[in-house]
């Protein structure tokens, strides 16, 4: 939960607009080649109910009105599901609490505090501009085998495959990954094993995923090494910050699947 119940508006009968002020220490970098630096910006009179990204929207509008260059940051659905957000707030990828950065609300910061905002620091995710990073490495990991090679048409009636509720639920837990990259950003080794483990777990649990089970884990792990992601050394930082609540047990599954595949392939 990103929020507490303290500022609930339940029972509030009229809009009471409380305004808060903060200092931002924010990473600015023109492009991948130029050096970056922290810039200090005032975030004055921010509505207490605003989300963190709405605060940045307000700051950007002010910068535009002052003829300055706004802060580039990625966001899209603002519901915590698309995984586009990619910033680190006060040292925590995707910000404090559960959920993506778009689910962080200003009410969770002490008024007057200084907030540090920077991009992910992962070698495999080069910085493009300000807070925006290139996460195409994750797409390439999926392209290496994170799917079932089902061709359109010709699938048997869905009712012919029975999957126990327990298995379906476990597969869904792993499939809930939003691909935001926070796991690699939180990991001291910049490991992508939570991400890869989630996909391998999702597909290896299901009967439909069996035919390619061994090849899948092999090619995904090799692609992961090739992209420059590190190995897991059991810090569990990924699990602690994962906005989609992916359990680090998927890494154990990944290791098990990899060893099994090494023996059988």
């Amino acid at each position: 939960m990103k929020s507490s119940l303290n500022s609930s508006s339940l029972g509030q009968t009229r809009a009471e607009r409380k305004l808060l002020s903060f200092t931002l220490r924010i990473w600015r970098q023109e492009n991948s080649h130029s050096p970056g630096f922290f810039e200090q910006l005032d975030a004055k009179d921010i509505p207490a109910e605003a989300s963190f990204l709405e605060m940045l929207d307000i700051i950007n509008d002010r910068l535009i009105e002052e003829k300055k260059i706004p802060i580039a940051f990625d966001s899209d659905c603002r519901e915590g599901i698309c995984g586009t957000c990619s910033m680190v707030i006060n040292g925590i990828p995707q910000g404090p609490g559960r959920g993506a950065a778009c689910q962080v609300y200003m009410r969770s910061f002490s008024p007057g505090s200084t907030i540090t905002i920077e991009p992910y620091r992962v070698k495999a995710f080069p910085i493009l501009k300000d807070l925006v990073v290139d996460r195409s490495a994750y797409d390439r990991l999926i392209q290496a085998g994170g799917f079932i090679s089902e061709h359109t048409g010709g699938a048997a009636d869905a009712a012919t495959i029975l999957i126990s509720k327990k298995t379906a639920d476990a597969a869904m837990d792993a499939a809930a990954c939003i691909g935001c990259g926070a796991c690699a950003a939180a990991c001291p080794n910049s490991s992508a094993m939570l991400f890869v483990g989630a996909k391998v777990t999702h597909l290896s649990l299901l009967p439909q995923g069996q035919p390619e089970r061994s090849e899948r884990v092999f090619s995904m792990v090799h692609a992961m090494d090739g992209e420059g992601f590190g190995n897991c050394s059991n810090y569990y930082a990924c699990e602690a910050i994962c906005p989609a609540n992916i359990s680090a047990s998927v890494i154990a599954t990944l290791n098990r699947e990899f060893i099994k595949a090494s023996i059988t392939l």
Partner: protein, 638 residues
Amino acid sequence: MTALNSKIPPGPLEKKWENFKKTAPLISPTNKRKFNIVVIGSGLAGASAAATLAQEGYQVDCFSFHDSPRRAHSIAAQGGINAAKNYQNDGDSVWRLFYDTLKGGDFRSREANVYRLAEVSLHIIDQCVAQGVPFAREYGGQLANRSFGGAQVSRTFYARGQTGQQLLLGAYGSLSHQIGAGRLRMHTHSEMLDLVVINGHAKGVIIRHLLTGAILRYAADAVVLATGGYSNVYYLSTNARGSNATAIWRSYKRGALFANPCYTQIHPTCIPVAGDYQSKLTLMSESLRNDGRIWVPKKKGDQRLPHQIPQQERDYYLERKYPAYGNLAPRDIASRSAKEVCDQGRGVGPSGLGVYLDFEDSITRLGKKVIEERYGNLFEMYENITGENAYEHPMRIFPALHYTMGGLWVDYHLMSNLPGLYVLGEANFSDHGANRLGASALMQGLADGYFILPYTLGSYLCTQFETKPSIDLPEFEQAQEAVLATTSRLLEVRGSLSAHYFHRELGKILWEHCGMTRSEKSLQEALSEIPKLRERFWKEINVPGSNDSFNKSLEYAGRVADFLELGELLARDALHRRESCGGHFRTEYQRPDGEALRNDELFSCVQAWQYQGEASEPTLLQEPLCYEFVQPGMRNYK
């Protein structure tokens, strides 16, 4: 007015698609690889189409403005996907899904298209299960279903409250498979800014590479637009921030017809607006209406907390007005009813613009655990945003813009009036009439991409063996220059206001004058205010940065410029449709009980608009809607 040819195949309703498939021209595997297909968008419709066409052997280039194809807004769909499987043995059939969809759309869609959609729905579930989509299961291992608005059967398949995510990741998996195998070129950070038309045919696109600012030409034998809807024209909507109408709007300006722009859907269950800094509203899935009861206090201005209001002083207005469907009345009806009670001063919450969605009875009946299993992530999301625990207090909800049924006009083949231009999913107008039923958007996106376009594309391509478009043609040059001119013009204004400001102002005009209810007076007002705002935009906007770099302000300003034009067409269409139907409610045309009053004699047709240049009004073309198999009735959900 010219009539439009929808190319609906002859024969009985249930044989049309089958007959079409039997006789549709095929392209041989050796010829498929000679054709270049450009797909714009990587949501459910775009990803499923691109993957399927690549798998069949076509040369496919897929473009997305996102950093990854998996970010497309289909990912945010929560509740589910309809299919006429009848696994529940509750009387469902292809006919019923067809009829419910047609009726839900207030008899403003084509019978043949909707029937085909219902037929194809069966294969979608098979396809998705085969891909490993983890749909919800019963303890016996069978697929689970839930009910949704506008239906009396349980035909909605779901993956918790994240069905769109799981379906999109399934399609993204297929797309990734094709990319990895080198059969499909994926272009991320690439926004389509113009359509290239050669001899009346769509033969390419102009793309701006968002990281470098490079304006690039791509030639194609056919162009497929799967770029979603235009709800963001209202500024506040449940759409993602990036969702935009630029691809379809610029195609419209190149001659593609825009059909029924006034058919917009306002979703009844969204989290109410908190303040004007907000730029995005959050939807709470309609599936919540399965177990939540909607109510407001009977008394005006009742300031008591919800639990202090006794049962007999609550008005469960949907259950009262629509006993047969109750809280599961279709979206347009549920939204208007919410507006009605708030207009009466009985709304709840700080702004008075909200109604309760209460789970107390369901929690008592089923236990908190069951509710948590069904809707856990939605309750969590609600608490994140509002700071309120919906297990203890009722949620507060209010309608918000959610989906647009209108879009580019397409025939039965999903081809626009411009040969070679195909439009899929929410970007087209075809299947939902004047109102879309819940869990039908995912169905349509995947139907179009996996199962319809791959069959219909051949009919056009088999005529195109001799024409190989080249990017050196003057049409490409001209379109590229036009794009450069527009971006330069945006950068040169150097006024003092952000694109955000103009977008917000446009949204206010449309919500006020062309929202849940519309009237001749309000629409005239919108038509006079929008051009004034547009004029100010081109004088006062400030777009910082340059053309040849990663410039998010420039991307956004271009999209807002298009919305400022589209908004006017939307109001014009709404003014011209002098009836109420589905999501389009004209206050002058209502039944004595306040329900929508259709005028089938004059308006049982598709209104398709043709661009006539900046200085002239667009011209209107009509496609009559013929009901051969169903008698359009007045919708009744009582």
